[in-house]
Symmetry: C2
Subunit: 299 residues, 2 copies
């Protein structure tokens, strides 16, 4: 670690740029449907790590792509992620009143608006991505990126993982099923982020496949780290209640393998992700450092 000089400064600088991009692409709050735009923007501006747009931007940078063409995809990536959080918090799903210390969308705008503004945010992500055709109409990566994004978001990606997670709420699940849930609910959008960044920059199929594998491992490591923090962190550090998995009888990597083995797997998976990235001719040292940063995070 620490091989990348001023990682924290660089991270802050890049997140600031992402915040600007997100603000640029938010829907205006006007007209009869003003409240819906407000509900969408409320959740988009509730903070968060902005990890997915960051991974998208850094993978695009790694392959020498034009970051401006990637901007609508960076904003859309965060809209897709945020839509899933709004729906996760709904009474019919996790029934959470707070997220990151603020009231959840449905608590502020009502349950019907929680459902509808979540959907509207997903749809607006597509509307936003289509704006890339104005920026670089001849870039064949745009269509590839759209297809990746839709596939990794939907039935065969995040939403499929979410549905299996919800169906097995409170039941013990096998490791096979837990892997399915983690690989889809969490990894799928990280794969979408990094693969989209790659294809927009012109990465070929083989390179994109390596990126997909690396992202899958980062996603799994990220999710196992979440399991670990739920046991080892404090609610002050985490900004949400701890020990919630135990309370909800959730099967996690910690309940299946114990803390030590789970931590070992996070390191293994991160190491594998870095080796995969190292196997490519294209380099981005910041991205490597970001992976180390993710596994050492305390929230």
């Amino acid at each position: 670690m620490g091989r990348y000089v001023n990682f924290q400064d660089e991270l802050k600088y890049r997140i600031d740029r992402i915040e600007e991009v997100i603000r640029k692409y938010l829907p205006p709050e006007e007209g009869f449907a003003k409240n819906m735009a407000e509900a969408m923007n409320y959740s988009m501006c509730a903070g968060g790590k902005r990890l997915r747009p960051l991974l998208l931007m850094e993978t695009c940078r790694m392959f020498g792509g034009d970051l401006q063409t990637a901007e609508p995809f960076m904003a859309a990536m965060e809209m897709i992620h945020t839509h899933s959080l709004i729906h996760d918090d709904l009474p019919a799903i996790d029934n959470d009143d707070y997220r990151r210390g603020r009231l959840t969308t449905h608590k502020v705008y009502g349950e019907a608006m929680g459902v509808l503004s979540g959907v509207a945010l997903l749809n607006y992500a597509y509307e936003t991505m289509f704006r890339a055709f104005d920026l670089a109409p001849e870039n064949p990566g745009i269509v590839k990126a759209l297809r990746i994004m839709a596939h990794k978001t939907g039935l065969y990606g995040m939403l499929g993982g979410q549905s299996v997670d919800v169906e097995n709420d409170g039941k013990p699940v096998s490791q096979e099923m837990l892997d399915y849930i983690y690989c889809h609910k969490t990894s799928a959008l990280l794969e979408a982020a990094m693969m989209t960044g790659a294809v927009l920059a012109g990465a070929d199929e083989e390179q994109t496949a390596v990126i997909e594998q690396a992202a899958a491992k980062i996603g799994l490591a990220f999710q196992i780290q979440d399991d670990i923090l739920d046991v080892t962190s404090t609610s002050e550090e985490l900004g949400k209640p701890v020990h919630s998995d135990e309370k909800n009888n959730k099967t996690t990597y910690v309940t299946l393998f114990g803390l030590e083995e789970a931590s070992h797997q996070v390191e293994e998976l991160s190491g594998e992700a870095i080796r995969l990235l190292d196997s490519l001719d294209q380099k981005n040292e910041f991205l490597t450092e970001l992976i180390y940063y993710l596994i050492s995070r305390r929230k």
Copy 2:
């Protein structure tokens, strides 16, 4: 009326073709997320007029377009419409247990799956539309069609209309607001259908604008006819409870203008839609007849 020979036979023939197209593009029910695919297909196969894919196909035919390229859009059109019905029926929105005589999706699969499978269907609509790039990679109408579809579905289209409708549930609304709701909640997807059919067939901006205006009038006429049927039809004819608007204190065209004036407006709007279509060089007599058919419907 009756200028088109064998309209009913032709209508049946075309709906049969649409049913085939829809079946062809439904997601396979397999893997861990099998239940989600089942929930999506349950609602897609619950019947319905298939009006939106029909309008898409007939407008594409009118401009001499390739109907095969339009197929993914026809299937996607019905997915977007069906997703909105699944969410409309949710406890947090209209709380309906039955639609077209069958249990609603959330009654069969649970409320969480109702939310998630509705979203998954919207997302799958995009995944499906992107398949058009395989069929006709060089058709510049595909990107235009995608942008129309996203815009008319989202915050500035159907979803925006739905949000305003939900927010004003049970409250008296002005005619201005009622027009906003009808033009967005109902007309927006009919505009999407007809405009998409037109641009896929290579219609230019001016022609597409005429189609948009015609579709807006058809949508408004269709919605006012719904208001009328709620008062004049029987629940047997309609397949759902009648007099529901009165029970729910809904402002409608019938409560604002009375039955006679509302019927007059349906005829006026349909006439204007037909005159708009007649103003174009391209002709489709079946489409004209379909508009007459829609205003004379009893369900």
